[in-house]
């Protein structure tokens, strides 16, 4: 018998509507699972009273027969989303004690769709990281372990708490955000589905900003169908975000037919990296075979500027971060350093930011400051923005050839051990995003789908990249891949 917290969104929704369970029971089951999963360090601020209150309201609406799409479904919210009256720290010490006076548009959209928030989820500080190890709360832990080992593994990052919580059935689904791969990499590391929609599909208002031209929110779920349901609830135009698209949101779930006959799937040769583990190559080849068996046409394509995506990203993202994070000055909210006699306002800024930001955030703010500084702006920042134009053009040329979606590996490896990368240089960690970062630079939708396990017993995922605004078609292709792969493995409970 499946426990209630083990259900996905679609299954729970159907059970609620059939009167087989209640939102209060679902929410209670999740709260108990969270209570017993302290070792995963996924939920960092819990809101059980608020959750039970919203669950009770949801049960009334369901009984009345006017339940919206996610009515009564318990979800977790990444700590990056501002939630009214509930701690929202972006995993940083500098926002300790911050209680927003407002609600982010995406979390409000979810609440309006009837979703029940269980609490806030762990993440890398300001979403800067690929292992959840830069968090002020300490790292989240992957519920998956290698065969016959008890080494603690990373759930990936930055949305590591979201990934761990969904994979461990602490919630039915969770929100994530993705600037260079922060939804798709942790989804792949934990055997779940994660989609980053087209830039502008979800409002960024009320989400703590990292790199504004790259940041997008998206759902992290147990199935592709759940991703379709939740993305639709999160999406929509918002006058408070001038980059949010004024486009109708399609019925994503209705698009899931599983029929991809005649679709053209592009396979980019530049994603075959030197030193790529054979298991990743095999996974990719299996995915290609699955698409072909489902009736899709496989086309070899070239995305020649792929290799320059990470270097361009590590100019653009830190540049935008240095500007966005200038607001943390110890004046209006968050941490302020204790000052010594005679300290002026400059010392206040410098001490506050040195105490409040962790090492990786400091490093990126300073790199961003450097590439934007007088004399280097053209050489670094403008050059990176030109390369970004070329990266986007690569994709446009592929889509002009009639390609409907592009299939790639999601990550260059399975989940690695926490602490394993501590002594590596920062660039080694950045390489985690090698397959995902191009998609942010081009503003495209990308989805990670779990399709297999490696010989250590850890999940691996493939990524599908779609045309702009065609998340419906992309999700349908992902649905076909999910059906063909038949991935059902779950981590054995040890926590």
């Amino acid at each position: 018998m499946t426990k209630l917290n083990e259900l996905g969104l679609a299954a729970a929704r159907d059970a609620l509507r059939a009167g087989e369970t209640t939102s209060k029971e679902l929410t209670q089951a999740c709260l108990e699972a969270i209570e017993g999963a302290g070792m995963l360090n996924a939920f960092v601020h819990q809101t059980p009273e608020l959750a039970m209150e919203r669950a009770a309201q949801a049960d009334v609406r369901i009984a009345q027969g006017n339940a919206p799409s996610m009515c009564g479904l318990p979800v977790g919210i990444k700590d990056l989303f501002c939630t009214k009256g509930v701690a929202s720290q972006a995993g940083s010490r500098i926002l300790e004690g911050f209680l927003p006076e407002y609600e982010s548009t995406v979390s409000q959209n979810l609440a309006d769709a009837g979703a029940v928030m269980l609490g806030k989820l762990n993440m890398d500080e300001f979403a800067m990281g690929s292992s959840n190890e830069t968090s002020v709360y300490g790292n989240a832990v992957n519920p998956w372990r290698r065969n016959d080992e008890d080494t603690a593994l990373t759930p990936g990052g930055s949305s590591g708490g979201s990934a761990a919580a969904v994979a461990a059935d602490l919630c039915l689904a969770a929100t994530g955000t993705d600037t260079g791969g922060s939804i798709r990499q942790p989804a792949a590391f934990t055997g779940i589905v994660g989609i980053k929609p087209t830039y502008g599909r979800c409002s960024r208002w009320g989400i703590v900003a990292f790199a504004s031209s790259l940041d997008q929110a998206g759902p992290m779920t147990k199935t592709v169908r759940d991703a379709a349901i939740m993305l639709e609830a999160m999406s929509g135009h918002d006058p408070k975000d001038s980059t949010s698209a004024d486009l109708a949101v399609p019925d994503f779930e209705a698009a899931l037919t599983g029929d991809i006959r005649g679709k053209k799937i592009g396979i980019p040769k530049e994603y075959r990296m030197d030193g790529m583990p054979p298991e990743i190559e095999n996974l990719w080849q299996e995915g290609i075979a699955m698409m072909k068996d489902a009736g899709a046409e496989i086309i070899d394509i070239s995305l020649p500027h792929t290799k320059y995506a990470l270097p361009a990203y590590y100019v653009i993202a830190p540049a935008e971060a240095s500007s966005n994070l200038a607001r943390y000055d110890g004046v209006r909210y968050g941490h302020r350093a204790k000052l010594d006699q005679g300290d002026g306002i400059t010392e206040m800024y410098e001490k506050t930011r040195a105490e409040g930001f962790g090492a990786e955030v400091q490093r990126r703010v300073m790199i961003g400051t450097y590439v934007l500084s007088a004399g280097f702006y053209d050489a670094y920042y403008n050059r990176a923005r030109k390369v970004r134009t070329l990266i986007k053009r690569d994709f446009e040329l592929a889509f002009d050839q009639g390609v409907d979606a592009i299939l790639t590996p999601a990550t260059p490896s399975s989940a690695f051990g926490l602490g394993e990368m501590t002594d590596a240089d920062p660039v080694a960690m950045y390489l985690n995003d090698v397959f995902t970062v191009t998609v942010n630079l081009a503003g495209l939708p990308g989805v990670a789908v779990p399709t297999g396990v490696d010989r250590q017993g850890l999940p691996l995922g493939l990524q599908l990249i779609g045309r702009p605004w065609e998340e419906a078609d992309l999700l349908n292709t992902a649905f076909a891949l999910e059906n063909a792969a038949g991935f059902v493995a779950k981590p054995a409970k040890w926590w």
Binding site: F98, L99, E101, Y199, G200, S213, P239, S242, T243, D246, H305, K307, Y308, L310, P311, Y314, V315, S322, A326, D329, G330, V331, R332, Y333, G334, H335, R336, D343, G344, I345, T346, E347, M348, Y349, E350, K351, R353, A354, F357, Q362, R363, M366, I367, Y370, V371, S373, Y380, N382, R383, R385, K386, V387, R388, T389, L390, K392, P426, V427, Y430, L441
Partner: protein, 95 residues
């Protein structure tokens, strides 16, 4: 381009982050690793390419130039580390 300790100190100052002098050599080393990685961009032919301004072709929406919000002093100050008499308080700025 190689970053020395004095450049690292200048960048830290510009970013308003206090870095102790004994941490500067390691910081300069990390900067050089990251910038070395970024240097690959010099291989790309960018002749005649426009720098990206907006990733999706869109015109930013405009709205009427009217007041839509306000009168929320208490809420705005509610998270301030130091608020006095309806204002944010900071160390003395003018001598």
């Amino acid at each position: 381009m190689s970053i020395d300790e004095s450049t690292a100190a200048r960048v830290a100052k510009l970013a308003r982050i206090k870095v102790e002098p004994d941490a500067l050599p390691a910081l300069a080393g990390e900067f050089n690793t990251i910038l070395g990685f970024i240097e690959q961009l010099n291989e790309v032919d960018i002749e005649g390419v426009e720098p990206m301004v907006s990733v999706t072709p869109q015109v930013l929406k405009r709205r009427a130039d009217v007041v839509t919000d306000g009168d929320q002093q208490a809420r705005i100050l509610s998270n301030a580390p130091d608020a006095r008499e309806g204002f944010f308080a900071v160390p003395k700025v003018v001598e």
